[in-house]
């Protein structure tokens, strides 16, 4: 059968379905809450050279784009002559995988009729990796848990029992963690079975021609989008809280013809704590932000990702080398799109939104009995919560919605069954959206206390408390976040802290920045916002000039 253009298109579609099936298999079987509930995973198929051909449309950009880079590392470390049918490789190396030890990337070579044709890769966040547990307080990656370098998890069908034993003995939830490793291997196998069907249906002996077709088309379309942008170098700078001191994030975005480079030179140096970001993760989020604005409809593959070049000086907080602590690299990572989009705004005004809360407010709570001899069981509760998104050039920002991350929150009722706590409030934070012709999205208020007999520890990993999300084009800033107890005690935005028995934790999540001069906002909309309580009377009068 001679393959036509239509055949290649169908195969491309099929590959997307293959990786969706791969991802579905992982979501169904994974234990990690963030995989199942929040879609914190990725799955993809690669050619023999390690070029990504297709990727499941799931989860979070940090995984999605970082995993694309990981397979060439595997090819190099395992060695071409050492790749056998029935092999499966893994790593959680933050610098070769997806940025912190909690993420395992599993790579399985695919063989068709005995010939090595490509790879499947999948990444998932496991519930524990030993060390201090999930939180920002370590000073070196060694404290953050076990690092498994690129190696064989399965060789020619034989599981590396020694490795499994080491992992079992170094993590807290061993059944769940090891279970998730098998889930990752199983999802690759599911994708593989489907790929084999496709290759036999279309009588393909190898994937190179199909890979060229996908990558060349995607690359050409992406380059065209970049070429359509006005040439020049565009700058942006954004201050954020960091851990022990504020972080200055700087970018120079250069567009010349069909090339694009985002350079983070001038960005602050590393932190002593786990908010540092490995380069791969910075690149993933920078690329994601730019792609949303420039080429949102072009599927993710090596061809559509490579044109977005991203660099940062080694040693800065956005290119932190080993052995920097990186456990909560998501906080600054999630803020990277705001930085690059701010620069892009100078290039193409009217496309990118104002700054938003951006970094997720993940709350990891440990409930412990006040009286250790009471026999009450301890428990761990993880919540994902989002502040407001920045306003768009012609739309209000989305309230309490994750961006750039793609995770979901959990139900309050379900969370209260997980551990001994009560959530007294989870509601929009009135007046928190930055004023503007288009209003920033609102943040939210969350109030939590331990149930009778318990106290709560929590790992804070929150940003935009000192530096709020800025408005754009005369739009006002969003409201900054805050962390405190109901007695007025102000808590830190980062690090492990206690909520004593009988006290309530009050989290106020940041709002998004406004877009455009608030005085230009339609008076009807201002009045409606005031009636609904989205804005305060103060804002209506002062920012919007409403005659009340």
């Amino acid at each position: 059968m001679k393959l036509s253009n239509v055949d290649y298109q169908i195969m491309w579609n099929r590959l997307v379905a293959v990786v969706e099936e791969q991802a579905t298999t992982l979501i169904r079987t994974a234990f990690s809450t963030s995989v199942r509930e929040a879609g914190d995973l990725s799955a993809g198929v690669f050619d023999r050279r390690g070029r990504m051909m297709a990727q499941a449309v799931t989860g979070t950009p940090g995984h999605v784009n970082a995993m694309a880079e990981s397979v060439p590392h595997f090819i190099e470390e395992i060695g071409k002559g050492n790749i056998f049918e029935g092999d499966v490789y893994l790593t959680n190396d933050p610098w070769k995988g997806t940025g912190h030890l909690h993420d395992f990337t599993m790579v399985s070579p695919a063989f068709y009729e005995g010939v090595h044709v490509g790879f499947f890769a999948a990444t998932a966040h496991v519930v524990d990796i030993g060390g201090r547990g999930y939180g920002p307080d370590a000073n070196e990656v060694y404290e953050e848990g076990l690092l498994v370098p690129i190696m064989k998890f399965i060789e020619k069908g034989q599981v590396n029992a020694g490795l499994v034993n080491i992992i079992r003995n170094n993590v807290r939830e061993q059944d769940q963690v090891v279970g998730d490793l098998y889930s990752l291997a199983a999802c690759n196998a599911a994708g593989d079975a489907r790929l084999m069907d496709m290759m036999s249906e279309f009588k393909l002996g190898e994937l190179e021609a199909l890979s060229d077709f996908i990558i060349d088309n995607s690359r050409a379309a992406t380059l065209q989008r970049i070429a359509d942008l006005p040439d020049g170098t565009y700058f942006n700078e954004m201050m954020v809280d960091g851990y022990e001191s504020p972080v200055d994030m700087k970018v120079a975005l250069t567009i010349a013809g069909e090339t694009l480079l985002a350079d983070f030179a001038g960005t602050s140096g590393p932190s002593k704590f786990g908010v540092n970001v490995p380069m791969v993760y910075t690149r993933a989020y920078a690329c994601y932000g730019l792609k949303c604005a420039i080429a949102p409809d072009i599927p993710n593959n090596t061809g559509s990702l490579l044109p977005f070049a991203v660099t940062a000086p080694e040693g800065c907080i956005l290119n932190a080398p080993h052995p920097a602590p990186v456990s909560v690299r998501h906080v600054l990572g999630h803020l990277v799109p705001d930085v690059v989009l701010g620069a892009l705004h100078e290039c193409i005004p009217g496309v990118v939104p104002a700054e938003g809360a951006s970094a997720l407010w993940n709350v990891l709570l440990s409930a412990r009995p006040v009286d250790p001899s009471s026999g009450l069981p301890p428990s761990e509760i993880l919540m994902f919560n989002s502040g407001g998104m920045g306003a768009r050039a012609s739309l209000d920002g989305l309230s309490a919605t994750a961006f750039p991350s793609g995770v979901s929150t959990m139900s309050t009722e379900a969370t209260e069954h997980v551990g001994p706590l009560t959530i007294w409030q989870k509601d929009l934070l009135e007046g928190s959206g930055g004023s503007g012709e288009f209003r920033g999205g609102l943040g939210q208020t969350i109030i939590i206390s331990a149930n009778e007999g318990y106290e709560l520890y929590f790992n804070a990993m929150f940003d935009r408390i000192k530096y709020p999300a800025r408005g754009r084009e005369m739009g006002k800033d969003g409201r900054a976040g805050s962390v405190m107890l109901d007695d007025g005690t102000v808590l830190n935005g980062k690090g492990r802290q206690l909520i004593p028995a009988g006290k309530k934790l009050i989290l106020q999540l940041p709002g998004g920045g406004g877009y455009g001069d608030p005085k230009k906002r339609d008076a009807e909309k201002v009045r409606a916002d005031l009636d609904a309580g989205y804005i305060t009377l103060e804002q209506a009068k002062h920012d919007y000039g409403l005659d009340v």
Partner: protein, 697 residues
Amino acid sequence: MTQNNARVGVDIGGTFTDVALDLNGTLYTGKVLTNYHQPEQAILDGIELVCKRAKMAVKDITTVIHGTTLVTNSLIERRGARTAFITTEGFRDVVEMRTENRFEQYDLNLTLPTPLVKRTERYTLKERVSATGEVLTNIDQNELDALVKEVLAEGYEAVAVGLIHSYANDVNEVQVQQAFAAAAPELCVSISSHVSPQMREFQRFNTVIANAYVRPQVSEYLGRLVSRLIETGITCPVFMMHSAGGLISVDTASEFPVRLLESGPAGGAIFAAKFAASYGEDQVVSFDMGGTTAKICLIEEGRPKTANTFEVARTYRFAKGSGMPLSTPVVEMVEIGAGGGSIAHVDDMKQIRVGPRSAASEPGPACYQRGGENPTVTDANLLLGRLDPDLFAGGEIKLSTAMANDAMQVKVASKADVNTEQAAFGVTEVVDENMANAARVHTVENGKDISNFAMIAFGGGAPLHACRLCEKLDVDYLIVPPGAGVGSAIGFLNAPFSYEATKGLYQRLSQFDPERINHLLTDLRAEALAFVERGAGEIETVTSVQAFMRYTGQGGEIAVDIDYKDYVDADVALFREKFEASYHKLFGRIIDGLGIEITNWSITVASKLEASKPIELRRSGQQVEVTKTREFFDAALRKFVTASEIQRETLMPGDAVSGPAVIVEDETSTVVTSGYTVVAQDDKSMLLVNKKTMEAV
């Protein structure tokens, strides 16, 4: 003359109102245009039509069974009542904050669907129940009275009440309901602990709001319908089809209209299930394709798969998460934006894309000659010889090959650098690929392999595409039943009386408390049975129970079938065993060392149906003589082939036609590809069999 048994099923769809009459075992069907202003008028017209065909008087009808998309449409088009929502202080924005994520990752200008009740229509009350059902904060009666007064002063048409953890203890919701009943007895008040007592506030609140929102309209409509039927002389009982594939009384439907959502498609699933059961096919995927969407449903052991949550009114290309998630029992279906009217275009990577935008019936596909300029799936089918331009819709719509060709050339072929034949092939192949992929993912999600399934195809477009889908999915047997154009209405006639009662009761197996479970099951069964008896009187029933269970720490539950009986302490082992068996079936493994918990419960009480008459499928037959041929494009062979053309009504049981063939009837055509043979069955169904299977026998 003996007593007639004349049962009528009526399905109001977006375009047509379908009617099926079963008169002493003989089926008569008809279609009339849906009347948006007076839906009941179309019902009367349709009933008159089929009665005329059956040569019987309308007054002799013994049962009317009705299903409708009006409730779904009312939610999509936001035509419901002005509704107030009352909730726990601190949770005013649950329905606005949704899941806090974006269903489309790359769209910076994404908008989220707005809740049915605006923030100004959402009121809060100081009160609180804990996860275990303990009242932490009692309602202050004075505050409640003031709130009731405030709400009444605003003149709302309906009120919904949803309080945190009310599924575990309804005392506070009932107190609110009573306060309204005392102050305004006429006002419709829905409370979440009665409409949908399941854990997860977002879905439960949505459900009670949706119920309140459509309730005044639905109860008025049903009242009108019943009185119009009586005026016409139809005084027999009227029942409503609900979304989980059973019948309820008009009164129950008026009280819980949210249960009527998607009752039409549920009827389609029942229709397919009946055939699956009579053929003894245990694993069937039903495939229903219309003008705008295709629907896929799994039918195992003769029962359509059901679920307890469902997303209605998706706003963004049918994307998961872009609608309104509700917790109500439904037949579980996957819906894809792929139908005959789906529009094809070429993207920036020169790839052909199809749907979800649809040309609908106005202006319709380019070949309809009604001003449509966009090439659609129907245009592609025409160009590929799969449709006869002179016989479409029984010859009522003349199709223009030239116009289809022009649209395909301008909008697809020239942009993708291929000829029109390749373009048309690309369009159908992309749409078939999309549907096949969705079907495959759906079976994977249920831990199954679709190649072990048989397919049942119905709806106008399905018989054109189903055989190619089977090739793609490695499915060997495809059944195209008779009357497939009005499948849902026929399905209504085969549905049992049933009611599913659900309730959240959280329990870890480590703290197994059989007494609470027994208590709950007894209550739920009594509740469900009362609803069934309200419709059917005292009849023989079957009770089935599902516990929704998971490993501690997991986010989603799986449904575990358990027996309806009195449980004792030792039965904790049984629950563990059943959970592990179900888990293993779905996920291929179990995990030692983890706790297990139960979150929600569901009981279905259904009237016992006569077992379907078993029919032996004829898997081979006698080749008939072919007198007419036609050229069509065989996708698997990538070329035009000469196909036999046969009128469906001429086929006798046991007749066979080897593919390539087209079996023509008024409502649709069945395409039999070169790889399949069609065999006519005793009940007028057609079975398409993969030739490889026949050779193997």
